[in-house]
Amino acid sequence: MKLSVLAEKLALKPVTEMCDKEITGVYISDMVSDVIANAKPGDLLVTVQIHNNVIAAANLVDIAGIVVTQGKLPTEDVRKMAEKAQIPIFSTDLSRWQVTTMLYEAGVR
C-alpha cells in the first residue's frame, strides 16, 4: 500500500516533504537498537522516539516512512535530515495502539 493512501486513511499529518513509497510492513518500537536490528526494508516505523539517531538508523535499514504518535513533533533539524534521506515523517495524536489497529483495518497485514 502506498504511503499517501495510508496517510489519507489514517488522517496522518505530514511534517516533512512527501515522497511517496510502497509500504510492505510495519514495525513498532521506541528502542533504536531494536529498530535497526529487526525492522525490514519497506517497513513503516511507528514510534514516539524521533531524533536524528532514529532517522540515521531508519535510513540504514531502508525504512519507508515514520509515524510519530502521541502528538510528538520532530525538530527542524530532524525534519531536514529525514527529507534528505527521503523518509517521510507523519504526526498523529493517536497512540501506537490506535495507529496499529487502524493500519490493520486499512489492510496492512
Binding site: 528502542m31 533504536v32 531494536d34 536490528a37 522516539q49 539517531n53 540515521a56 535510513n59 540504514l60 531502508d62
Partner: protein
C-alpha cells in the same frame, strides 16, 4: 592495565597483510549524538557503489551503527576503518575511552550501562554488542579499562 580479549567466528583473512581493494577511515567524536549514524551512512553509500549484496550491506550497517553509537556514548573518539577485501568486508574501530571491564557481561543481551540520558533517546536495550555479534561472521573485542576498546568485525562475501 589489564587488556582483555574476546573473539568469535573462524578467521579467514589475516588482520595483517591482506589485500585491501578499498580502504576508508572515518572519525567519530564522543558525545556527538547530533551526528550519530553518519559514519555508518557513509560506509553504506560506499558499499552500495561497490555493488555489494544488499544483505551484506544491511548486516554491516547494523554493526556499524551500533559500534558508532557505542563510541558516541562511551568513548572520547575513534577511527572507524573500512576495508573492502576480495572476499570480505571488515571494520576496525579503535577508540580512546573507558573500555569494557567485563566483555562477557557486555555481550549479554539486555545488559546495559546506559545513562538515563541515553535511555531517553531510546538506547540502553542492551543490544549493541549482541547486534554486532549477530550480524558479523568474525568479531573480536580487545579492551583495556581506562584506555580504550578495539572492535574488529568481518562479513564474508561468499559461502
Amino acid at each position: 592495565m589489564n587488556e582483555s580479549r574476546w573473539s568469535t567466528g573462524e578467521p579467514r583473512v589475516p588482520w595483517e597483510g591482506a589485500e585491501i581493494l578499498y580502504g576508508e577511515s572515518i572519525r567519530i567524536v564522543g558525545d556527538d549524538f547530533e551526528h550519530g549514524g553518519e559514519a555508518a551512512a557513509k560506509i553504506k553509500a560506499i558499499l552500495k557503489q561497490f555493488g555489494l549484496d544488499p544483505a551484506v550491506i544491511r548486516r554491516l550497517s547494523i554493526a556499524n551503527f551500533e559500534a558508532e553509537m557505542n563510541v558516541i556514548m562511551y568513548a572520547q573518539e575513534a577511527e572507524m576503518q573500512l576495508q573492502v577485501l576480495p572476499d570480505a568486508v571488515r571494520v576496525i574501530l579503535s577508540d580512546r575511552g573507558q573500555g569494557i571491564p567485563d566483555i562477557g557481561q557486555a555481550l549479554q543481551e539486555g545488559y546495559s550501562t546506559a545513562t538515563p540520558r541515553m535511555r531517553q533517546r531510546g538506547f540502553g536495550a542492551g543490544l549493541g554488542l549482541p547486534n554486532i555479534r549477530r550480524n558479523t561472521d568474525e568479531f573480536e573485542i580487545i579492551s583495556t579499562p581506562g584506555v580504550g576498546t578495539t572492535l574488529r568485525y568481518t562479513i564474508h562475501l561468499q559461502g
